[in-house]
Every structure is written in structure tokens, then in C-alpha cells.
Amino acid sequence: MNPFSYVRPNSLKAAIDAMARDHSARFIAGGTNLLDLMKNGVTLPEKLIDINQLPLREIRQDGNTLHIGALVLNSDLAAHELVKTQHPLLSEALLAGASQQLRNMATVGGNMMQRTRCTYFYDTSMPCNKRQPNSGCGAIGGINRMHAIFGASDNCIAVHPSDMCVALAALDATVLVAGPKGERRIPFTDFHRLPGNTPQLDNNLAKNELITAVEIPPHPFTKHICYLKVRDRASYAFALVSVAVAMDISDNVIRNIRIAMGGVAHKPWRLPDAEKALTGKAPTSDNFRLAATIATQGAKTYAHNGFKKDLAFNSIQTALLKAATA
């Protein structure tokens, strides 16, 4: 690894001040993505600001809202009683991601801040607009089996690999961030970005801001949920396609439904049109098929990922059926 300086502030203010002094710095929490990128020479910070001393490790219930500190470990969050009972979709998604060793290191904030990426982003001998703006995209004319089918641009077709974030997008979570000007709240679905003309930006967090917490508002989704992850091997692989479904059914009518996908876009991909099509309808295979048709209509595929459109079409129906019968 390239050399860097290291600081370990003991307050939120000191951490934000340290970043303000040195914009080439990076915050480090678990380090599972950042150190990997640094070893490959993809990210070369001159300073690391270790935020592990900050008091952001709490999981608590505020009224009906679940407050999750940014430094809560993925494994602790997945195993937490409140998460397992009140937000089982989140628990399932977390356990579908990475390995237990990585979940024991990775934090909630770090999971959100992991780079949207592909093999060309990691290969410093190849062009990549995300790593080096205006250098071109190696993936569009290259090997693009893993790449996006929704919301991509001519500049970047990489996907965000998180499972946790797909569940948080479906559950309409809110991100709490702190910066030099104080705190602000960002709806989870607005946190990550589509590539557009600025693929170097994965999210809307300002350089000198730090995620402090994520909040999940109350919702009725404790029973009819499913996190379906389809991948090249049975475990410990990124999703080719993943689908998070949460629905509230009474009297054989879907009263409320959320659907989000992973592995298909630059950010966790909500399916608002499919949700609308199913709200107030019966949970039947025909309706699920219609929703999957609506959801995949706008898919754009490349030379090697054409299968993802069919996989998404089938996976959405499977996840809906599993959730409905859960």
C-alpha cells in the first residue's frame, strides 16, 4: 500500500475538522472496501481518518423509528432482536451479503459508502470514467456480464453491489449526515446517484460530510417479506440480480408494497411503477407477472448481460410469490 498519514479523532467535530483540513483524506471505519481499493492503487488517500472511536454504535428505538448508528457492524445489525422481529427484510439482506468475517468488520455507513464498481474500475491499466473522469468506459465495449440494465449512461454501466442498501431503499430509510454546517437528513433513495455525466460520484454526500446514522420509519412489513439473491455460486458472491419485496396483505388484497432490486443499477433500484400496479390488487401469479413485465420494460442490455433482463423478470415474480406466501 502507498504510505499515508493516520489520525484517530475522538469526537465527531474533530473528525469533520480533520477532513476539512485535508480534502485528499478518507474516513475509514471497517476498511473492507477502502483498503482493498488502496492495495490496488485505485484510491490513494494521503491521510486516513479512523472514525472508530466516535460514539456511533448504538441501535435504539426512537418512538416507532429504528435508529441505527453508522458504526454498527453488519453482523450485529443482522442479529439484533429489533431488526429480526421488526425489520426482517433488512436482516435477510444483510446475511445475504459478503461473508461472516466481512460482516464482522463492515459498518452500516461503510456499506453505503462502498464504491459502485466493476472490474474495469479496479484495473488501473484500463480506461474508466469513474476512476479517471473522461478516460472512457472499458465495460461498455468490453466484458459486461455483471453490469447494469437500468439507469446506466454512456459514461458508466457499473452496479452498486450492496444487499443491505437494497433493503434500506425498500424500507424508505433516511440517512443522517453531519458536516461543518451541521446535520441534514437525506431520503435513502436519494442518497446514491445514477452515473449520468458524473460517474465519479456514487452518492450525494459532500466531501466533508460523514454519515452518523440511518433511520427506518415504522412500516407493516414483518411477515410478507423476501430477499432473493441470485448469484454465480450459492454464497459469498455479488448478486447478478437481487430482489427485495415487502408487502402488507389483508383480505387477499395487497394494501402496501415495496420492491427494490440490487445488481442491476448504479444505485439500489426501486420499482415504483410495479409497486403502483400491485397496490390494491390480489396477490396472484398473473398480477405478479404483469408487475415483472412493467418493471423490466425499460431494461437496456449490453453484449454479455442480456440474460439479466430475463433473470430480473423471473426473479421479481419468484420474490413476489415467496413474500406473498411467507
Binding site: 500500500m1 502507498n2 504510505p3 499515508f4 498519514s5 493516520y6 489520525v7 484517530r8 479523532p9 475522538n10 474533530a14 475538522d17 480533520a18 483540513r21 485535508d22 475509514i28 471497517g30 476498511g31 473492507t32 483498503l35 482493498d36 492495495k39 494521503e46 486516513l48 479512523d50 472508530n52 472511536q53 460514539p55 454504535r57 448504538e58 441501535i59 435504539r60 448508528g69 454498527v72 453482523s75 450485529d76 442479529a79 439484533h80 459478503a98 461473508s99 461472516q100 468475517q101 466481512l102 464482522n104 468488520m105 450459492a234 454464497s235 459469498y236
Partner: protein, 211 residues
């Protein structure tokens, strides 16, 4: 799934903070003389601990039950500290990118990939490596089970597999072969000894009676 009860909030310990403050007092003067970059000096007023590029900083670890005061560059991973500085070469470097699990060690009882964390980030932590698992000549039950079930071929992934397996059992994630396969998926064995590894773990789970 049964889970170990862990507190959801871990308050920082006072004694560690004080130790860092003492370090800061000593080292900031040394740094000022040696390097004197204005940024570092200014930062030292705000930050608990700091090390400049190429500067070694102290780190206190308890490794296999032994308290150690060490000195490392910030860029040294826990894995490289163990192998290169402490000659604890039982912990293997496979991919060095968190993909293979050969570097698995326990930090405060939890399994992690030692290749993806910096040694300086582990200040005050208790590290257990494969060397610290046995009780003298008495092997750990998981080590014995791996031998009994031939849970390896070349052996390179084995220390990581065993450290991961011990944690998997401790977490309560060894309830069935399926659950073991899921929760051991962070440890790759390219010889393909998976069946025997699962059998070894099941054996320990069942009290070592099925060999």
C-alpha cells in the same frame, strides 16, 4: 438462529483514551522535530492519535494472551504485522483482498479477515491466531476434528478454516450442514475439502462422537 448476545453499544474505555493522550504528549514533540509539517502540528491539537507518512506509531495489542507494545507504520495490515513482525506465520496470506479467508483471525472473539484491517486500528484489542488456539500440546477440539476427518489436502487454507470454524461454532451458526456451508462461505478451499470440513465441524458440534 441462536446468536451470541452482544451489547449494541460499546462505550470507549477511559484507560485507552488516556494511554493515547500520553502517547500524543510524547510523540507530538518528536514529530515536531522530525517532520514539522504544519498540517500535522495543527491536527495534533484536535486529534487523539496521529502518525505522519512513514512514521511508526505505537499500538498495544494482546496477541494469543500476551500483551505487546508494538510500533508500526499506519499502512501495515494486521496480517502483515502478525506474519512479518511477529513471525506468527500460521495465519496465511492467500488473496490479500478479503476474498479467500486464509487470513482469518479472532479480534475480541470475533472472526475477521486480518488482511483488510490496519494494525493501528486494533489498538487495545485481543487477537487470537491459529498459534493461540491450542493449549500447549493439547490441540483445540476443532483442530483434532480436522485431523480426524481429513479436513484439508494442501493445508494452506486450513488455519483460516479452523479459526473460522471455531467462531462459527461459537456464534451458533453450525446447526446443520447447510448452515455451516453458508457461514463458512468466506473460507475458500481450492483443494475442495469442503465435505470433510463440514463433517469436522458437525463432529465438534455433536460432541465429537461421530468420528
Amino acid at each position: 438462529m441462536p446468536q451470541e448476545n452482544k451489547p449494541s453499544s460499546v462505550p470507549p474505555k477511559k484507560d485507552k483514551q488516556e494511554a493515547r493522550r500520553d502517547f500524543l504528549k510524547q510523540s507530538s514533540a518528536v514529530m515536531a522535530l522530525a517532520l514539522a509539517p504544519p498540517l500535522v502540528l495543527k491536527a495534533a491539537q484536535h486529534d487523539e492519535a496521529i502518525a505522519a507518512v512513514f512514521e511508526k506509531m505505537p499500538v498495544n495489542l494482546e496477541i494469543n494472551g500476551k500483551k505487546m507494545q508494538l510500533s508500526v507504520e499506519p499502512r501495515v495490515t494486521l496480517l502483515d504485522l502478525l506474519r512479518e513482525q511477529l513471525a506468527l506465520t500460521g495465519t496465511k496470506k492467500g488473496c490479500d483482498h478479503g476474498q479467500c479467508g486464509a487470513c482469518t483471525v479472532h479480534v475480541n472473539g470475533q472472526r475477521i479477515n486480518s488482511c483488510l484491517t490496519l494494525a493501528v486500528m486494533q489498538e487495545g484489542k485481543k487477537i487470537t491466531t491459529i498459534e493461540g488456539l491450542s493449549n500447549g500440546d493439547q490441540l483445540h477440539p476443532v483442530q483434532e476434528a480436522f485431523i480426524r476427518h481429513d479436513g484439508f489436502q494442501c493445508g494452506y487454507c486450513t488455519p483460516g478454516q479452523i479459526m473460522s470454524a471455531v467462531a462459527c461454532l461459537h456464534e451458533g451458526h453450525a446447526g446443520s450442514p447447510e448452515q455451516i456451508r453458508e457461514f463458512m462461505s468466506g473460507n475458500i478451499c481450492r483443494c475442495g475439502a469442503y465435505d470433510n470440513i463440514v463433517n469436522a465441524i458437525m463432529d465438534v458440534k455433536n460432541g465429537g462422537q461421530t468420528a
